[in-house]
Each structure stands twice: as structure tokens, then as C-alpha cells.
Symmetry: C2
Subunit: 686 residues, 2 copies
């Protein structure tokens, strides 16, 4: 539970405070003092009466009631200390010490004792095994660097303290400012999800920061992460996150790091899609995305690039194009008017190259044209470094002034960190961020622009027959793969069109069915799970005698119980699958069938229940989406129907959590209709 005493304590005690700033207990006190903490600061130290000028007491019982306690003492001493202080009214604890559950089982026991004390007395607990908590009121971290802080700065929440420190290193170099930094350590009481929940439930549109950056290795409570992330984003926040451990080896690395079981990556992708979180893969990317989010929101995908150096403009244009963003050609009378104001040889066709000799006044002019005159421009990239002949103060002052006034975002790309180091520093001190590499910026922008809005929370029923679904599930006798008739009934209850089919172990019945629906038909063995591998699927059976022959053959396959016949349909193969992931719920996958799923692994994922918008986002993020859309000479498939079936299936799953695994493979799709041809469902009954 996050208490007000954690965020805004009137008094803080550092237990284990030290005069040695090379120890955590000394460094945190120094940071609190240097951070200008305005409340009452106290220290506990057995030997000294003052520590770094702060009054110290030798034991806890001599300490006045204190709102927040920071513990920098050996792990073994922590439980008693917490109990004693909590009993005397301390409502917040930050425990820096390591040596708990992350190291040994005995450490885990200590951790539990601390948690019990905190919970009993209603106290907040950050850590143990963390760097602490830093906000504008108190710098309760023992680490450096300390970023510049401001109310509309970024909130950083990290499950790894060292990673938070290194993210700050990368962010500070770019001028990114912070509102708070949370290191949750072992997250014994307060984890990343709790911080998000608190920020969401206490969100103040007037005062609160709107940008959240997250580093997390294991998502312990996906539901809460999803709910509060989406909620914050709907309130106007933006969230970017690294979920590390996405590869198999990375997961191993992550679990050795935190002792947590890594989440499946498809589930993470699905959760981020649903919440509208920008996914990042490196500190560099996260801090760059953070910088982009501090600028005014982008209203469109068309960029102007203003520069005095051609090369970076070319590379940036390439990067934006690759990410689906545009650098539209500028021409016509307005462009000519601008060109006339620049030196001979300057180019305005976009990039706008005002030449190495271009003046600050010309930069101002070009910026004004982009802001006011070029209607097809949504944002401006200004790339201005220096070969060192003159200082850049004038140029950067123009940028500064225009950035204050412009409605369209202006992205400053100032590459000369060595040669114009002072000028860049001065620019950053005015509160700006800087992107020193244009391509890194372009890539970050594409990532942000391609994230969908968060999904709605409502489950869309569309006539999915929930009571009938429950009746069918209840009627299924045992766990395991479900018999074909139940599969058929479940899909039908969800309104998912399934090809008509018939199952029997009697040849005459099978032949009669085929005669009624008409040839060609498909015949499949019922019983074995991997039918294709045992020769249990026969396509394109064109007549009665052929069917009779195949019936006999199929029934001789090991485990064969019956034969299924269905009319043979044509169309593009699609695939929908779902898997129940512990803690995440049902992850729904979609893709084109056949080699696209099996060989190319071209699938995208979403978390049930899914909205239409999410289903469309899933379909459109397939690499092979062009095939679904159709191209010259090749008809596409009915995308709306595909989305509908995905939504319907996700609703079915939401009300049939016994389903642990299922796939519909293939569905056959034409421009008009999509029909499920084969489906498997595995349930687990409690």
C-alpha cells in the first residue's frame, strides 16, 4: 500500500546512516541533504551524535516518531527494526539492503516477517534490495546520477535498481527530466503494478506527470498492469516499457536475476497492445521514446526536416520512411517563396537544407514556414550541429524560442556534443531534450506512432450464447481434447461459422452424408491428435467409391475411433489459436494458415477479451497483412469477418476458462465468407 508518508513524509530517518558517503547509508543521507529535503531529517547510528550534520540517536527507542524510515543495515536486523518503528507509528519503509529472498531461502523468511509487520501496521514498503525512491520532495536513493526534476517530468518505475541507474545515465545525457524514480527491488509489498495502480487511482489531470517509463523483467499481475496502464493512457498519459527476457536465453537471464518466472513473450505483446504501451528493447530506446513524449503530441505522419547539413537529413528521411512516416515533397509557390529567402544552392524540397552558411534568421524563417505556411507538415525535425567555426548559441536560441511558440512539435537534433557541448548543455538547461542521433529518433518515433490506442474494457457479446457455452462445457465429461461434436457446438454458440461435418464409425452413414452435401469432400480420422502425421487427412475425395476406400483405410489407423467428413471448401487459409497463460489469461493468436504460421511464425497476439479495434490491430500487424488486404490480381479476404471471428472467439474464451489451448486451423476465407474447417480444443476441468 502506497501511503502519503512514503510520497511526502514530514520526517525521514536513515537507520544505518553513515558519514562515509561510499556506503549506501552515507550516500542516501547526502542525497537527501543535497536534494534540499524540507522535512525533518534524522539518523540512527550507534556511535555518533550527528551524521553529516544531521542529529543522530544511538538506538530506535530514542527516536521521535518518524513518518518514513530508510533502512541501510544488514538484512538480519531489518525485521525487528521494521516491527519496532511500525509499532511506533512509522508509515513508510524503504529498505536498501540486499540478502533477502533473492539470495537465500532464509532471506525469504526475513522478507516475509518485514511484510507482515508493514501490513499489520498499514505501512508502505519499498524494497528490499532496491536503490530507493526519488521524487521532487525527497531524494531517498543512495545512487547517482540524480536527474533534473520537475512536475511534468517523467515517472520511471523499475524492477531493477541498477537498470534504473543506467536508464538515468542515458536519459540525463539527452536532457530528459524526471518527476519520480521508483526502484521496487524485490517488490515484497509494492511492485510495478502497485505503483501504476496508485498513479491511476490518484491521477490529477492538473498536476500529475503524464509520461511513465517502465523497466520490468516479470509481470506478476498482468491484469492490474493492463487495467491501470490502459486507464492512465485514456486519461492522457503515455507509457513506454521494456519487458526484458523476451528471448529464451533472455528469460533464463531474467529468472536468474530476479528469481521470477518470465512471462511468455506473446502474452506480453498482447498485453502491451491492449493497454497501448510503447514497447522498447533498450535503455537508449526507452530514454529516446521518453524524450519524444515530452514534446507536443504528434497530429499526423508528415515531417519536415530543416538542416544545414545534408547527410543526416538523408539518413533521417530513410529511417522515417522505413517506419511508415512521411517526408512529403514541398513545392509550389510557398516553397518558392521560402527558397527565395535562402542562399543560392539551398534546397526547400524537403529536407529543407539552408546550407552550412545558413543563418539563424533563415532557420527561424524555415521554422515559421513549417508552422504556418506548409499545410502538409505535422512536425519539424531541426538538425543543427557545427564544424566548430562559430558558437551555436544564436541558432539554439532560435530553436528555443520557436519551440516555445509552435503548435507543431519541433524535434531538436543537435549532434555536436563535443564541439558545441556548452551550447547543447545551455539548450538543455532551458528545459529541452536533445536527440543526438537522427536515426535513433526516427526509429523511436515510428515505434510510438504505430502503437494502437488502449482497448475498451467492455466485452462485446454480439449474440455469443454464454449460457449455452456453459452448458456445453459442463456436459464435457473429462479433461483433455474435446470430441468433435462439442467443438462444433462451442463454435456454433459463439457464432463462428463451421463447415458442416459429420462423424461416424459407420461407412453407410458417412457415405449418405457425402451424398447429401455433395462431392468433393474431405475425410479425417477421429482419434489421433496429429492427424496429418499419420496420414489421417484425405482431401478432394470426388466420389462414393473413393470415399468408401478411404473410410476403410482411415479406420485402420491406430487409435482411430471414427471418420469425419465435410464438404471441401476453397479459399485463403487462416489460423486462429489461443492459449491460457497463467496470470495473463487467454492469449489469442491469429495469422495466415499453413507455412505462415508453421514455418514463418507470422502470428500476432492479443489478450482476451478482444475488441474489434484490437482484432484489426492484430490482423494489420501481420507481416503478411498485404495478402489479407488483397493486391492487384489477387483477391483479399473478408477482413471484417476475420476480425469478427477473433472477437467472438475471445468472448467464448472469457466465459470458458476451462479451455487451456485451442486452434481453428484452417479457416478458409474468401472475399465474402470465412468458414472454420477444423478446430481442436483442450480443456482442463477443475
Amino acid at each position: 500500500m502506497i501511503t502519503n508518508q512514503l510520497l511526502h513524509p514530514a520526517s525521514i530517518v536513515v537507520v544505518g546512516a553513515s558519514n562515509n558517503v561510499h556506503k549506501p547509508g552515507g550516500a542516501i543521507l547526502r542525497n537527501l541533504l543535497q536534494g534540499g529535503y524540507a522535512g525533518e531529517l534524522r539518523a540512527v547510528n550507534p556511535k555518533e551524535t550527528t551524521i553529516q550534520g544531521v542529529p543522530a540517536v544511538p538506538s530506535l527507542d530514542l527516536l521521535p516518531e518518524t513518518e518514513l524510515a530508510v533502512l541501510a543495515i544488514p538484512a538480519a536486523a531489518c525485521p525487528d527494526t521494521v516491527e519496532a518503528l511500525a509499532a511506533r507509528g512509522t508509515k513508510a519503509f524503504i529498505i536498501l539492503s540486499a540478502g533477502f529472498g533473492e539470495e537465500t531461502p532464509e532471506g525469504g523468511v526475513l522478507e516475509q516477517r518485514i511484510l507482515q509487520s508493514c501490513n499489520r501496521y498499514g505501512a508502505a514498503l519499498i524494497g528490499p534490495n532496491c536503490i530507493g525512491l526519488l521524487n521532487r520532495w525527497h531524494h531517498s536513493v543512495f545512487t547517482q546520477p540524480i536527474p533534473m526534476l520537475r512536475a511534468d517530468g517523467v515517472d520511471l518505475i523499475s524492477s531493477s535498481g541498477a537498470t534504473a541507474v543506467f536508464i538515468l545515465e542515458s536519459a540525463i545525457a539527452k536532457g530528459l527530466q524526471f518527476n519520480s524514480v521508483w526502484s521496487v527491488g524485490n517488490a515484497t509489498q509494492i511492485g510495478v503494478e502497485d505503483v501504476l495502480q496508485y498513479m491511476d487511482e490518484h491521477f490529477d489531470a492538473e498536476k500529475d506527470s503524464r509520461i511513465k517509463l517502465i523497466y520490468v523483467e516479470s509481470i506478476k499481475d498482468p491484469d492490474r498492469m493492463l487495467y491501470h496502464s490502459a486507464s492512465l493512457i485514456k486519461k492522457g498519459c503515455r507509457i513506454a516499457a521494456i519487458k526484458a527476457g523476451s528471448s529464451e536465453s533472455g528469460s533464463r537471464a531474467a529468472s536468474s536475476h530476479t528469481g521470477a518466472i518470465a512471462s511468455s513473450d506473446a502474452a506480453v505483446e498482447a498485453l502491451f497492445r491492449k493497454a497501448g504501451i510503447v514497447r522498447c528493447y533498450s535503455r537508449e530506446e526507452l530514454s529516446t521514446v521518453g524524450c519524444v513524449l515530452t514534446l507536443p503530441e504528434l497530429r499526423g505522419r508528415n515531417f519536415a526536416i530543416i538542416t544545414h547539413a545534408g547527410g543526416p537529413g538523408v539518413m533521417l528521411t530513410d529511417a522515417l520512411s522505413k517506419g511508415g512516416l512521411n517526408v512529403p515533397k514541398l513545392d509550389g509557390v510557398v516553397a518558392d517563396e521560402l527558397k527565395a529567402k535562402l542562399f543560392p544552392g539551398a534546397s526547400v524540397s524537403n529536407p529543407i537544407d539552408i546550407l552550412a552558411t545558413g543563418t539563424p534568421e533563415q532557420l527561424a524563417m524555415a521554422l515559421d514556414f513549417c508552422e504556418e505556411r506548409f499545410d502538409n507538415i505535422d512536425a519539424v525535425m531541426a538538425i543543427f550541429g557545427t564544424p566548430g567555426l562559430v558558437t551555436m548559441f544564436d541558432t539554439y536560441e532560435v530553436l528555443h524560442q520557436k519551440m516555445l511558440m509552435a503548435r507543431k512539435p519541433i524535434f531538436p537534433v543537435l549532434p555536436s556534443l563535443q564541439t558545441a557541448g556548452k551550447e547543447v548543455e545551455d539548450f538543455i538547461k532551458k528545459g529541452h531534450v536533445n536527440f543526438s542521433d537522427e536515426v535513433t529518433l526516427g526509429t523511436a518515433l515510428s515505434r510510438i506512432m504505430n502503437v494502437p490506442r488502449p482497448a475498451t474494457n467492455e466485452i462485446e457479446l454480439f449474440g455469443v450464447d454464454i449460457p449455452r457455452i456453459r452448458r456445453i462445457i459442463d456436459a464435457i465429461p473429462t479433461s483433455g481434447y474435446v470430441a468433435p461434436q462439442f467443438v462444433q457446438e462451442l463454435l456454433s454458440s459463439a457464432g463462428i461459422p463451421l463447415v458442416e461435418e459429420f462423424v461416424s464409425d459407420k461407412k453407410e452413414e458417412v457415405l449418405a452424408f457425402a451424398a447429401r452435401t455433395g462431392f468433393p469432400v474431405v475425410a479425417k480420422v477421429v482419434g489421433p491428435v496429429h492427424k496429418s502425421d499419420v496420414g489421417g487427412v484425405v482431401l478432394n475425395i470426388k466420389g462414393k467409391e473413393h470415399l468408401a476406400f478411404e473410410f476403410d483405410r482411415l479406420m485402420k489407423i491406430a487409435d482411430a475411433r471414427a471418420v469425419l467428413v465435410q464438404p471441401m471448401l476453397k479459399g485463403t487459409e487462416l489460423f486462429i489459436g489461443a492459449k491460457y497463460e497463467e496470470r495473463f489469461g487467454h492469449v489469442v493468436l491469429c495469422g495466415l494458415g499453413g507455412i505462415f504460421v508453421e514455418v514463418l511464425k507470422d502470428v500476432s497476439s492479443g489478450l482476451a477479451p478482444l475488441s474489434y479495434e484490437e482484432a484489426y490491430s492484430m490482423i494489420r500487424s501481420l507481416r503478411a497483412y498485404k495478402i489479407i488486404r488483397g493486391t492487384r490480381g489477387q483477391a483479399g479476404v473478408n477482413e471484417a469477418k476475420f476480425a469478427e471471428i477473433i472477437v467472438r472467439l475471445s468472448t467464448l474464451l472469457r466465459f470458458a476458462t476451462e479451455i487451456k489451448e485451442m486452434d481453428i486451423n484452417p479457416l478458409l476465407a474468401t472475399e465474402r465468407q470465412i468458414t472454420a474447417v477444423d478446430a481442436r480444443i483442450r480443456i482442463e476441468k477443475g
Copy 2:
């Protein structure tokens, strides 16, 4: 022509030298002086007798004979100055001034006059419109920053001066050192290709730098770039390059920048593949790749990560895995032995996490284990930043010492640029590079590891019948699409198996052919180019009557001249195409047929003539390569045959340069055989 006087002048004159270091003529003199130029330095200035302490003369005729002249005077004055100095023995010119062909046609005339003077007198010319040339002997650039220089540093060659400056900014921050920096400006005489040629032809394995970084917007002479890049790489060099303007908008940006026509990107990809050049897309990436190349060569793909902070190790593991590199699990007795030497809670399973409290001695131990004991490790990543409690000098000294001794490369990742700025600076001063972001490093490494070796120069004939090819080409009457019988003969001369086929406008002949080869057959209209679009292709014709019917129908299509019949084959569809690109020669494309080429654009490219190794590299860089290789339940195709056909086709093209465009689409491939089913060839006769 690159002269010795350009590289190692005994005397240099700055024409237009100035006491004002905010002007190019002042800045370059300062750089020469600060660079400790040991030859004789002179200046030309109408008003002063000394400039920055350097003796100055007011006019050219008072100047003693000087080997290298640097011109920082208005464009209009340059031609006469060059002529006068060249006539008096100056053998090298660097012209900084702009205002030439890049701005106006009149400027282009000035440029030509300069070129003529230089060529007539055998003088080298760098520029105009450049920042100059910097090497260990003379710093003839007017820009900053000046990097640290050493004989085995990097050679940078850039077609954009400002981009070179910004690449230096990014490289210096990483500790990358240089041997030379070439800015070729308008490349009136000496372009990027000339510099490469010189470096190749004068390569001294004992003395020369082995790493070349290139920034280029237009490849003017692809043949020379290819030849000398490949040759240098075969001599033990590594080359990485940015070719900017790869997107359509980027090309527009590039051409407005340099006035050069951008090369097609597939051709660039093909050239880089053939030469073995590492392709980069940003300054950040180029400088990171440059840093990687300064380390000992990687002998394998298995990495150990040693760190005291889990998070970055996890992200790096993800990045390496994504790029096809491994972070193998470490276990067994050796791992246990290491674990016993570390603190409780440390992990050795890889990443090796020695914990935040880990000591420099433990780092040394872990490095020793990776160097000597872990046989399945090829290289080590050491991620060591700091939360600021203690300095990092000891830790980095351990890294430094181990890097001097180790045979396996050790990649230092030191993220704390703010907090341990001094320590990192100290480490870099010892001659090391630093990778501040682990994921950027992982991505750069993957890029390097996935570049093929340069191709051999030999054309592999394999019985391709060149005289017969020439006879066929000569027999083709006109330019345009070639008649089917010629297509058949050309492919047959190259030994490319083509499905047997027969063309006639007589129904009886067509029926007789089909009766001989057997049904089913395919029938196609001959005449229209886009046959499918006009319903001119009929598959799977199973009998005589059906064929007769389709013959009549096909002959009624507009422009129909005849009907082609061929047996209907089965297999996986493949595609091979080729296009003649001005200056590059034939670019050969390959891929899977159908939607893979037409919709997904999954093709890779190579430059004719192709070796087997290149053909394999092309095939294996297809996103859909897994389908060619085959997977569980699905047979692959005969990859060796596919490579052979690509090689044979490329040889055919090399001797039939009249072919401007062609494709074989589809080829039908099984595990055993690949047969071309349809092909189109367009020739242009001179």
C-alpha cells in the same frame, strides 16, 4: 590521382589564411599548428606578414614552391590560383570553398577548370566543397572535433563533410581512434572509390589501418568500389558503410544534397553482399560497428556476459539471441568452481552476475574462467557501471589488463558516463573503446556476424555455352521481349532446365504435342505480355477435348499469335529475376514465387556474375528461407540446384549484356529437381 604530396606533404600553404579562427582559413591553420605539423607551413594573405605566427606572403608569386595548397578563398578565385600553383610545382590541392557545381552551373564550369589544371600537372585534388583531409601527418581540416589519431585507427571516407564531422562526434564519445578522415566534397577528381583504390593498391599489411568506415550518398563507380573493397577485405581489412538515400524519399533528399542520382537500393545491397561490406544505417551504428572492429576478431557466436547488474545482461541476451548469436548456458563442474569463488546469490549460468557487491578480483576471476576454462565461449561482454558509491578505477583497470592479455575479445559496456565519467575517460585514454548501451552493441555485432565473406572475382562457367549464347542474341531480330523459342534456347545454353514446351498456332500440332508428353498440361497464350491478366493461362488441362476448347478461346484474346503448351509440373514455386542497373550491371534477384515475391517483396539481390557462395548467401537471407530448407512435415527444395541456377543465370547475363530485364517465374522445385516453367527476357540491341 592521389599523390604522396597529398598524404605526406613536406610543405603546406593555406591560401586565404586568417587570424580569425571563426573562418575556415583561420581554423584550418590553427588545426595544422595544433596538430603539430612537422613540415613547412606557409600562408597567403594580402594584408599580413604572419598569420597565427606562420610567415605569410601577400601574393602567390612570392610563395616558394609548396607541395600541398589548401584553398580557403572564394570559388571564383580558385581556378586561377590552382593553375598558378600547379604550374609552379604544387602537387596536391584541398579546396574547402563552396559555390561550385553543387550550387550553380557557372560553379560547375569553375570546377572543370580546376580539374583540368590538376590533371594537366598531375596534381591531386580534394574537394571543392569539403572539410579537407586529416591524417597523422597533417590536420588539413577546418573543422572540429579532431579525434585521437593512431596508426591502427579507423580510416573514415565521407562524401559529406558535415556528416563526417557528426560521425566523429559520435565516434569520439565511444573512444574510437582514427588514422585518417577524408572528406571528398564534390569529388571532382578524387571520390570515395579513388580513396579505396589507393588504399587497396598501396596496402601495406605491416603498417596500414585495417578498418574503413564509409559514408556515401551515391556510388558513382560501383565496379571500382566493389573491386577494391573486396580486395581490401581479402587482405584482412573490414569495411562498414552507410549508403544513404535507401528509401524513395531519402533518394530525393540525397539528390538534392549532392546533385547525384541515387542508386537503386537492391543494387547497393547486392554490391555490399558481394564485397563483404557491413551495411549501417546511422552514425551511431557506424561508429559502434567501427568500435567492434577494433577488437580482436570473433571466432564464433557464443558469448558470455559478465556483469554486476542483472537488467542490462538480460536485455543484451535478448538482443544477441534476436541477431542469431548465442549466450550458452554455463553449468557443470567448471561453472560450480567459479560460483564457489563468488558471493552467495551470484549466478554463473550466463549471464554471470557477480552481484552489486562483486569485487574487481571476482571480475578478474570470471574473465579468466571465460578465457581459459569455458570452452564453449568465444567472446565476453563485461557490463560494469556504478551507482556512485565507489570509483570504478580498480574495476576498469582489471578490464584493461585482461583485455591486453586475452585472446578472446572482451567487449566493455560501461554505462555510467555521468557518474563514472572520469573513470570511463581514463579507460578510453588507455586506448580502449566503450559501448555505453548494451543493446546497441548487440545489434551491431549481429550485423557484423551476418555479413558474408567477399566473393571471388572468377566467373564460374560450369559449361555455360558462351559462343552459343552470343549466336542466339545476334539472331534475335529486334529490341523488346524475346520470342519463346529464343528464351528456351538461351536458358538451355546456360544449362538451366526448362520444362519441355511447344508453341504453335495450329491446333492439331498442339494436341499432338500434349498427347506425346501426356496430360495434365498447361496452355498459355503467346503474344500478350501480362498473360494472367487477360485470362491467358490455363492450368491442369486433363484431356484432349478440354485442350482443344481452350486453344480456340486463347487464340481469340487480343494480340494472340499462338498457344504454348507444356506438361504441368508440381512443386514449390521459386522466382529468379534480373535487371540491368546503369553503372552497376546486372542485379539478380531471387525468392520464393507467387505472393512471396509479388506481395511480400521477400527477395534478395546479388550482382552478376555470382559465385556459389553468394548465391547461397542470397537464398539464406530470404525471410522465407525456412521453406526452402524444409521443416517437419514439409519437404524443402533442392537448395544446391537453386544456387546453381542462380549462378548459371548470372553467367549468362554477364555475356549477354543486351538483356536489360528478365525473370524466370515460376520455377517449380522439389527436393530433387528444379525446372523453369516460364521465363521472359527483354533485350535492347545497340
